[in-house]
């Protein structure tokens, strides 16, 4: 029907058969990388710890996906959607941690001061900005002039 643009047009299944030793070699590489991850975790690289671990894990995941899951010999579209799933995950992580990391960083010239870094301080636990309090005490003057320098 539609995706028939390739060489074999006999309608049979043509899948790549990996060699036994090649698969074993990939497995060995995976074990090697596992040893490296564990070894790396014995050292402290500070904030790079997580990044290093994720990088090694990504190399491992790439090996598994490319060779065990045959992505290398498969339709490019499968690789694309596989990568896209990580891209969207990145969007989720990026935009939500961007909020969490910048919370409580308030523009002091504005009359609003909302939650502190962690949500727990929310109900009454935060330190109100003096100017914020002032603005609330004089709603008519404060509300229309959000920022006075």
């Amino acid at each position: 029907m539609s995706d028939h643009a390739h060489a074999h047009d006999d309608g049979k299944v043509h899948a790549h058969v990996s060699s036994f030793f090649f698969l074993c070699a990939i497995f060995t590489a995976l074990i090697g990388l596992t040893v490296i991850t564990v070894a790396a975790s014995r050292f402290d690289f500070g904030s790079a710890n997580t990044i290093i671990a994720v990088l090694i894990a990504t190399v491992k995941a790439t090996l598994v996906a490319t060779f065990f899951m045959h992505l290398k010999y498969d339709k490019g579209f499968h690789a694309l959607i596989f990568i896209m799933s990580f891209v969207f995950l990145g969007v989720m992580l990026g935009l939500s941690s961007e909020d969490v990391d910048s919370r409580g960083r308030v523009d002091t010239s504005s009359t609003v001061r909302i939650l502190e870094r962690r949500g727990e301080q929310a109900p009454g636990g935060f330190v109100p900005d003096p100017r914020g309090v002032q603005a609330r005490e004089h709603p008519t003057s404060g509300a229309s002039q959000p920022a006075h320098h």
């Binding site: 698969l23 991850t37 491992k60 598994v64 339709k75 799933s85 995950l89 990391d101």
Partner: protein, 235 residues
């Protein structure tokens, strides 16, 4: 839409007039059916990645908020057991890939062997997890309101964990629990594939279920590849 040709003609252009028993009636060719199954599985893998991804995002965000507590808490996990489990899973991934290979080559008995080993590895993984879980239960390292490791009777080398460490264990149990559930599901799928292989339903022309089952199993492995370093190792 202007032209249409008769079904028999179409069938001829598609295959050689024969309709193998494994080919569903709405597919023209075995290849089309195989490609559909694979695309379906890859799309499904995407959904799984995003589902686990949600947990990873929560984990990373909370870890970033209380790094000290998370480091203290993660030291209570047994990285040796985690490592052994990693090796078990990686090995089972290898045997799953080998099962696909042998079924592609039509070697039924070899396929049976590799599938059996894969399932045994899954059982071993669950066994080790069970041991780990029972230690955590024993030490009161439980999520939320069941967390008791901050009480003096659970002191570890004279230390107790802060109560806030319950968050780490909430995430630990959600992540490993959901992963464990996937191990069980993957095991059942492979078991079903094993039965069908035993009945001789696969051939070099039709090995789709082996391929699909193995893809699922590799996914289970992929999740663990990230879970293990992030939860067990990174301080």
């Amino acid at each position: 839409m202007a032209s249409a040709h008769a079904d028999s003609e179409h069938a001829e252009h598609a295959g050689h007039g024969d309709h193998p028993p494994y080919l569903a009636h709405h597919f023209d060719t075995p290849e089309q059916q195989f490609d559909s199954a694979k695309l379906g599985m890859w799309v499904f893998i995407v959904t799984e990645i995003l589902m686990f991804g949600g947990l990873f995002v929560a984990y990373l965000i909370y870890k970033g908020q209380e790094p000290a507590i998370f480091i203290e808490a993660h030291n209570r996990l047994d990285w040796k057991m985690g490592s052994v489990n990693t090796i078990v899973l990686l090995f089972s991934s290898l045997t799953a890939a080998l099962a696909v290979r042998s079924s592609q080559l039509g070697k039924k008995n070899e396929t049976t062997m590799w599938l059996t080993i894969t399932i045994l590895c899954a059982l071993a993984f669950l066994g080790i997890k069970y041991v780990e879980y029972s230690h955590k239960f024993h030490d009161g390292l439980l999520p939320g309101r069941f967390f008791t490791a901050h009480l003096p009777e659970h002191a570890h080398n004279g230390h107790v964990l802060p109560q806030r460490a319950s968050m780490f264990f909430a995430l630990y149990f959600m992540m490993t629990g959901l992963h464990g559930l996937h191990v069980v599901i993957g095991m059942s799928i492979l078991g079903w594939v094993l039965v069908r292989n035993h009945r001789g339903q696969f051939s070099p022309e039709y090995f789709t279920p082996v391929e699909i089952g193995a893809l699922y199993w590799h996914l289970v492995d992929l999740v663990w590849i990230y879970l293990f370093p992030l939860v067990y190792l990174v301080g």
